[in-house]
């Protein structure tokens, strides 16, 4: 799939690191015969049965599958939240498969951005502080934290909403704060777990538009887990899981263009999902 990321370098926002899409660049993700076995009492659950997978810088990949297919387990392993029972996982050139809890925490901090279905923002905390949080754990100084958080919020179209708390933001806006939070440490990879699961269709398209823009303009590697086909079609490549194995892995011929679709979508006035 090396052709999908051969995009023209676009004008870039200053201060934002970029994974340069060089054809022979090392893969961001390299899974090699990953097995995951959960032991629940006496029962062994074989969640992953030998998954091998390569994702290169700048790819936008959707992972699909029914519940129990192993896509959530894959997601947890990709996000370094969990370790494979067997097999190796090389993330951005580093073998993370047998890393300790603390080492994985550091890897998550430096290399991975998370976007969850339930937004998972800290309540009673401003959007700005939520976005600053990952930099706090990376040890970025306060002036730079502030500048980078402001920039990330602007990039997702939330300029002017920095001081709002999550309960003062709509679902779409909250998810955009989460996207901004996932961006600020310039991760090698952004993992989005059902990011549109709690959103209505128009807001879903808006969030996908941000993802596509980040992917196309900044070359950010994106892995999206979803069970919705139409959402998966915004990606360039779809991997389908079944029974702990990869069932299919194919490029999307004509990915949907969220930006184009938004122009044709009527603005639904039931919510203040779009910023003024």
């Amino acid at each position: 799939m090396s052709t999908t990321f051969a995009v023209e370098p676009q004008e870039l926002q200053p201060g934002v690191a970029l994974a340069m899409p060089v054809p022979e660049a090392q893969p961001v993700i390299q899974l090699d015969h990953i097995h995951k076995i959960y032991t629940m009492g006496d029962v062994e659950v074989h969640a992953l049965r030998g998954v091998s997978l390569t994702i290169r810088p700048g790819e936008f990949v959707a992972i699909m599958g029914a519940s129990g297919s192993g896509k959530s387990t894959t997601m947890n392993i990709l996000g370094c939240l969990d370790r494979p029972t067997r097999g190796t996982y090389i993330l951005d050139g580093e073998d993370v498969s047998q890393m300790s809890k603390d080492e994985r925490a550091d890897i998550r901090c430096q290399k991975i951005g998370f976007v969850f279905q339930g937004f998972n923002l800290l309540s009673r905390t401003s959007a700005l502080e939520n976005v600053e949080l990952p930099m706090l754990y990376l040890g970025v100084d306060s002036a730079q934290r502030h500048a980078r958080a402001m920039e990330a919020l602007a990039a997702v179209g939330l300029a002017g909403r920095e001081q709002n708390h999550p309960n003062q933001l709509s679902g779409g806006q909250q998810q955009r704060v989460a996207v901004a939070r996932s961006l600020v440490n310039h991760p090698a990879l952004i993992l989005a777990d059902e990011p549109t699961g709690n959103l209505d269709s128009r807001t879903s398209v808006e969030v996908m538009e941000i993802f596509q823009r980040l992917n196309r303009e900044r070359g950010i590697t994106l892995v999206l887990v979803t069970h919705e086909h139409d959402i998966a079609e915004y990606a360039d490549r779809i991997i389908v899981f079944k029974d702990g194995k990869i069932k299919s892995d194919h490029a999307v011929e004509n990915p949907r263009n969220a930006a184009e679709e938004l122009k044709n979508l009527p603005v639904i006035s039931d919510d203040d999902d779009d910023e003024e």
Binding site: N76, G79, L81, D82, K101, D102, A105, D106, R108, C109, Q110, G113, F114, F116, N120, L121, L122, S123, R124, T125, E129, L133, P134, L136, Y137, L138, G139, R181, N185
Partner: protein
């Protein structure tokens, strides 16, 4: 992530829930302020007892008739046949014991005092002319009676301020007549005001007359219950004590295996006993207050445990975006230390204010103790660490996957 940043994170987390933080701190605030106030009361009482004793004079000795302790049975110094101390004994002490400078008997007669159309019931104490010097209690107006007046058993009297106020309101009592047990006396002096003793008794409700007069004309007996002896210096009190004991045993013709039929005590011992008592009281008060501090600590632990459960998702988020377990543990530990130390600081202020207000409202003397302040700060920090550790460890042990899924 630096410690400073973790402290900031902890502060922000507390500020997010101000009401709860305040209520949690309340336990520590009450505990610390109670410890400080209680210790202040104890120290104040101790200091005033100490001052009292010093004002009496630390070179003072008491000689009393009767043994205080005979074979484990205290006989006390009541009226039960303790005729063992005589004026001659006291004269001998004054004459023969080199470490003794002054001696006065102390004979009490409760009686009704009448002056004009006023009357007052008080204790008339028969003493020698050296009494003001021995007790370090000067005469305010007039003068004390003289050696000659003691020898001739003159009917002269020196009254305390309370008597002067009640029997001669608005007039000068010096030279006035007063009737004691229906005998006319002349007021020659008024003692300086002494105020209340630590037990709250009015020390100015007294009258002094020559002991000879009291013995012969008021009591009609020449027994002596108690005498005050002044040693030449504080260092000499123990020497004086043993020399008086030897002399009295010799005069009373006691054989080696007979117990003393008198008691000699020195003020230093009394001071130490009083000190011991007030120290015990201070410790007791501090312990009771300490219990409330402990309860406050348990309150912190309880809230922190609830907080860990309630914030499981937050912990999951923090871990997912790169917080190490140690950072989460430190954050929760610092939250509880911040709660307890902030509570401790407020408690100190409240405790000091209370300690300063108590004398004004309750009339008890207090003394703010630096030790209590430092001690309660350290203790409240220790409470924070001790009771915060378990919840913090629980938070750090969470698995980010489970924590994120927690509803």
């Amino acid at each position: 992530m630096t410690l400073l940043m973790i402290i900031r994170v902890a502060f922000r987390a507390l500020v997010r829930n101000k009401m709860r933080a305040a209520l949690t701190m309340l336990g520590i605030i009450i505990g610390v302020s109670a410890v400080i106030a209680m210790v202040s009361i104890g120290q104040g009482a101790s200091a005033s007892v100490q001052a009292q004793i010093e004002s009496i004079g630390t070179n003072l000795l008491f000689v009393s008739a009767g043994a205080q302790n005979v074979g484990g049975v205290r006989s006390g110094t009541g009226d039960t046949g303790t005729n063992t101390l005589t004026v001659e004994d006291l004269d001998a002490i004054k004459r023969e014991v080199p470490s003794v400078s002054m001696v006065t008997p102390n004979v009490n007669a409760r009686s009704q005092l009448v002056a004009g159309n006023m009357n007052w019931n008080t204790s008339v104490t028969g003493v020698s002319e050296q009494y003001p010097e021995i007790r370090k209690w000067p005469v305010a107006t007039g003068s004390f009676f003289t050696d000659a007046e003691v020898r001739t058993a003159a009917r002269v009297i020196v009254i305390g301020q309370t008597l002067a106020d009640n029997l001669y309101p608005g007039t000068d009592p010096i030279g006035q007549d007063i009737r004691v047990a229906n005998l006319p006396f002349r007021v020659v002096g008024v003692m300086a005001r002494k105020g209340q003793d630590p037990q709250g008794r009015d020390q100015d409700d007294v009258a002094f007359a020559p002991y000879t007069t009291v013995q012969k004309k008021v009591l009609g007996r020449d027994r002596i219950q108690i005498a005050f002896v002044s040693a030449i210096s504080q260092d000499a009190t123990y020497t004086a004590q043993s020399q008086i004991t030897d002399l009295l045993r010799q005069r009373h013709k006691l054989t080696a295996n007979e117990p003393n039929d008198f008691t000699v005590r020195n003020m230093t011992d009394v001071a130490e006993a009083a000190n011991e008592t007030s120290k015990t009281m201070t410790i007791l008060l501090a312990c009771i207050a300490g219990v409330s501090l402990l309860v406050g600590g348990i309150g912190i632990m309880n809230i922190m445990l609830v907080s860990v459960t309630e914030r499981t998702r937050e912990i999951g988020i923090r871990m997912a975006i790169g917080a190490r377990s140690s950072a989460v543990r430190t954050q929760f530990l610092i939250e509880s230390i911040v709660l307890s130390v902030t509570g401790g600081m407020i408690g100190i202020i409240l405790g000091v204010v209370l300690s300063l207000a108590i004398p004004a409202f309750l009339g008890w003397p207090t003394l703010v103790s630096m030790m209590a302040i430092v001690g309660s700060v350290l203790f409240s920090a220790a409470v924070g660490i001790f009771f915060g550790y378990y919840p913090a460890r629980k938070a750090a042990a969470l698995d980010p996957i489970d924590a994120l899924r927690y509803e």
